[in-house]
């Protein structure tokens, strides 16, 4: 039987939310998205820290992913402790109290021929 899957620490160095969007929002809003799988039997409490090129890190951004569930969160929507700027390079460090799997997706609709890219985060 699978006991746990995932890691408690993940890093995403390549954050950058496009400023412009085209198409119907919120479906087609340009965005960076965090996708978290908690396949375990305990609720996972995540703390995100955001790193920038030219300023001090900001965080923690608290997130909860209940047991045996997946949660998708747009970085565009995070406001606690404060909103991330669009069109600005950033990185994310995710620390969880239970193992989770973290995937990162970017949807870029700056042009009508929009693009999507996705990757697993780097597990610590």
């Amino acid at each position: 039987m699978l006991k746990t899957i995932g890691s408690k620490v993940w890093a995403i160095p390549g954050g950058h939310m496009p400023l412009l969007s085209s198409g119907a929002e919120p479906r087609d809003t340009s965005r960076d998205e965090l996708c978290v799988l908690n396949a375990g039997h305990f609720d996972a409490h995540l703390q995100l820290t955001i790193y920038y090129e030219d300023r001090e890190p900001v965080g923690p951004y608290p997130l909860k992913v209940v047991a045996q569930r997946v949660r998708h969160v747009r970085f565009n929507d995070l406001i606690d402790p404060h909103a991330l700027p669009l069109d600005t390079p950033y990185a994310v460090l995710v620390v969880a109290d239970h193992p989770v799997v973290v995937q990162f997706t970017r949807r870029d609709t700056s042009q009508a021929a929009n693009a999507i890219a996705t990757t697993l985060a780097y597990p610590g």
Partner: protein, 403 residues
């Protein structure tokens, strides 16, 4: 008996953290006599007194170089009447406590704002409001007040005997006197059912009138990073939910009014809010939305709030004489807000907007006087009731053009 207690040289910091000053002393007089002593002493020495409630306002209406007074010891239920649904309570009673106090004797407030951390005198004095096409702001429920004027005179005004004074006192920012107790028009305690929905912005705007008509309380949040809205409604539980085929219900909750209207807000923010004629609300919102999408989305993730308030007659009420829409924009307290607020303020002012007295705005006396038909009447009363300007330190004197 010790009636004067002071706690000197502490810095006052408002809820959001953007208003800071060090008054000469902070005091919390326990009795009316003590308040009178402070007022008399201040008048004799040429000092200025302001009363702070819970410090939720972010405009400098409580700022003073001298005496910052708290009415926290003037707290709780003084009397009530279940026949007329009226009650008198201490001016320093915090709304969250007041809800339970009134409920325990079978009464409830007609409406609340988005939070209930303020004092009752604070929300009355600043024109704080909730949302509902037929609901007035909280100050409209003030039907009597006991206060100490700038002459250190204790006065009792009622809406029956002193209608003009009550209409002046309803949104008076502590300029006419220090409230020690307020009499409120209430309702029998009642329950409400909260329903919240997600919807596309255009769908919400297309149904604004029917949403406003169908729900006791209605407002919506617009999220600039999604161009999507959250519709929030409150209705008596026995009223069946109207059909909203364009929206998806995401929350249902039921309870007594004091448990269900206000929400918890821990994350600190700055806010600019303007009141517009109700008919102008949708067009103004569209312009604000477009401007944020085009110019501010990079740095602004906080929502915009759209609320409805019924007209009243209070001299300085932002909804004086006109059913209104209130549009408020927010920014994290930890991020720059001035450029954003200045830009949005330029838009809402063009719609004959009036600012919330307790939130950020840039208007001064000349501009404000043009917005309020009873401005001169209020100024005249203020001069009569506080001839020495005890309640008029520099920021308020500038605001009123009474330097």
């Amino acid at each position: 008996m010790k009636i004067l207690r002071t706690h000197s040289a502490d810095e006052f910091i408002n809820w959001s953290g953007s208003l800071r000053f060090i008054p000469r002393s902070q005091v919390w007089p326990a009795t009316e006599q003590a308040v009178c002593v402070y007022v008399r002493d201040a008048a004799a020495r040429g000092r200025k007194i302001r009363v702070a409630g819970s410090g939720h306002s972010s405009s400098p209406i409580v700022q003073t170089p001298d005496i910052l007074m708290s009415m926290r010891d003037h707290h709780g239920l003084i009397d009530y009447d279940l026949h007329s649904h009226r009650a008198m309570v201490g001016a320093g009673t915090v709304l969250h406590d007041l809800g339970s106090i009134l409920h325990n004797v079978g009464l409830g407030m007609q409406n609340l704002g988005d939070v209930d951390t303020q004092t009752i005198a604070g929300v009355i004095s600043t024109g704080t409001h909730g949302s509902g096409r037929k609901l007035q702001n909280i100050s409209a429920t003030l039907i009597g007040v006991r206060a100490i004027t700038g002459n250190a005179e204790v006065v009792d005004w009622s809406v029956e005997q002193h209608p003009d004074l009550i209409n002046a006192a309803r949104v008076s920012m502590g300029l006419l006197g220090i409230f020690t107790a307020v009499r409120l028009q209430l309702e029998p305690t009642y329950r409400l059912r909260r329903r919240e929905y997600c919807a596309r912005t255009e769908d919400c705007l297309a149904h604004l009138d029917e949403l406003a008509d169908a729900h006791r309380n209605f407002d919506f949040y617009w999220y600039p990073r999604r161009d999507e809205v959250k519709i929030r409604t409150l209705n008596p539980p026995e009223v069946p939910p109207p059909s909203l085929p364009f929206a998806r219900c995401i929350k249902e909750q039921e309870g007594f009014s004091h448990e269900i209207i206000a929400r918890e807000r821990e994350l600190k923010f700055e806010e600019l809010e303007y009141f517009l004629p109700a008919d102008a609300g949708p067009e103004c919102f569209r312009e604000v939305r477009q401007r944020i999408l085009q110019r501010h989305r990079k740095h602004v993730g906080w929502r915009v709030l759209y609320r409805l308030i019924a007209r009243d007659d209070a001299f300085l009420s932002p909804v004086h004489g006109r059913d209104s829409v209130a549009i408020s924009v927010h920014q994290n307290a930890s991020l720059p807000y001035q450029e954003y607020f200045d830009d949005i303020e330029f838009i809402v002012r063009a719609y004959d907007g009036r600012p919330h007295w307790g939130k950020k705005h840039s208007l001064r006396a000349e501009q404000l006087a043009a917005l309020y038909p009873r401005w001169d009447d209020f100024i005249k009363l203020r001069r009569e009731l506080d001839p020495n300007g005890v309640f008029l330190p520099e920021p308020m004197a500038q605001l009123l053009g009474e330097e």
